[in-house]
């Protein structure tokens, strides 16, 4: 008489995949590998028709934008003023104004007032006082 097994692990186990699945799976995997597997990302991008169209559209938009911007009015003063400005040295002056470093100190109003009062109340120093 057969003795009952002690536990599930003595014999019961999850099922194995059906044998027909092997050929079907390997066939699909081989096809996928042949089609995509050996390519790098650029090759796959190039092979994709939607991505190619998107790339062509973006290039066309860039060219169109470049042409529109290129034919528009240039920035800065009008061409008729440029020789006058150059003769008067205004360009250098404008450049100096632009290059000035602006230092901003944020002080509360009361501190500005106190420091201003201190300047007014301090006696002026003279050479006699120093001696």
């Amino acid at each position: 008489m057969k003795q009952p097994p002690d536990s599930v692990s003595d014999g019961l186990a999850p099922p194995v995949p059906p044998s027909a699945l092997r050929d079907r799976t390997l066939q699909a995997a081989r096809a996928a590998m042949t089609e995509n597997g050996g390519d790098d990302i650029w090759s796959r991008l190039w092979k994709s028709r939607p991505i190619r169209l998107a790339w062509a559209a973006s290039v066309a938009v860039l060219l169109f934008g470049h042409m529109v911007i290129g034919t528009g009015a240039p920035s800065g003063p009008p061409d008729t003023l440029r020789p006058v400005m150059a003769a008067a040295g205004l360009r250098d002056e404008l450049a100096k104004v632009i290059d000035v470093e602006r230092v901003t100190i944020e002080l509360p109003a009361w501190e500005i007032r106190v420091s201003r009062d201190r300047v007014e109340t301090e006696p002026p120093t003279t050479n006699e006082d120093q001696s």
Partner: protein, 206 residues
């Protein structure tokens, strides 16, 4: 009846949660060799990968989706995805865990689609089968399969990975995308629930 109850009680129901299964080094080298060959574009190696991994992938899919037909679809999907990876497979450090992760994600995707189309109940899915040499245990296998079907799919998945795929809780966490502690917690809950179901089943049959 006591013998019957004993035979239906899996030994892993009493196993400690803290036990960790250590993967074999040789097996890992084999996986890495196969992945390196696939990364080189050797199509013939797909056969070796199938022989090595198909059972684990199929079982994981079956226990997750609860349908043999859907599990076959998952296996096919997984191998196609692997084949599409190409040279990127060379960068995979833990091939078996990575493959099971892909299988888990494919199975989850399929579960979501199945929920949308109101899938059939999974009570009759054979989660466990009797060995060919011992067909008398078919009733035990059916009984346990019915009980396993009543577990939540996440807990079912952890039981399979832990006890039939020899994964550590750390690996289970990587595969299922949860922290190690969560994987261990799911395992503990699954074992407790299965134990209650077994006791209830024993009471009703006796």
């Amino acid at each position: 009846m006591e013998a019957m109850t004993r035979s239906l009680k899996p030994e892993w129901l009493a196993e400690s949660v803290s036990d960790e299964v250590q993967p074999e080094e040789g097996a890992s080298d084999c996986w890495l060799t196969i992945f390196a060959a696939l990364a080189d574009g050797r199509v013939a190696v797909l056969d070796e990968l199938y022989d090595l991994a198909a059972a684990d992938v199929y079982r994981l899919a079956l226990w997750r989706v609860g349908s043999a037909e859907d599990a076959e679809d998952v296996v096919q999907d997984v191998f196609v995805r692997v084949a599409e990876q190409g040279h990127r497979l060379a960068a995979v450090r833990r091939p078996r865990t990575w493959l099971l992760t892909v299988a888990h994600r494919c199975a989850v995707d399929l579960c979501r689609r199945n929920r949308r189309r109101q899938a059939d109940p999974v009570e009759e899915t054979p989660y466990l089968t009797a060995p060919a040499a011992d067909p008398d245990r078919g009733i035990e296998a059916e009984t346990l399969s019915r009980l396993i079907a009543r577990l939540p799919e996440k807990q079912r998945e952890v039981i399979l990975l832990r006890h039939f795929a020899d994964c550590t809780f750390s690996d289970i966490g990587r595969i299922t995308g949860v922290p190690t502690f969560t994987a261990a917690s799911r395992h503990r809950l699954a074992v407790a629930k299965l134990r209650r179901l077994l006791e209830k089943n024993h009471e009703t049959t006796s």
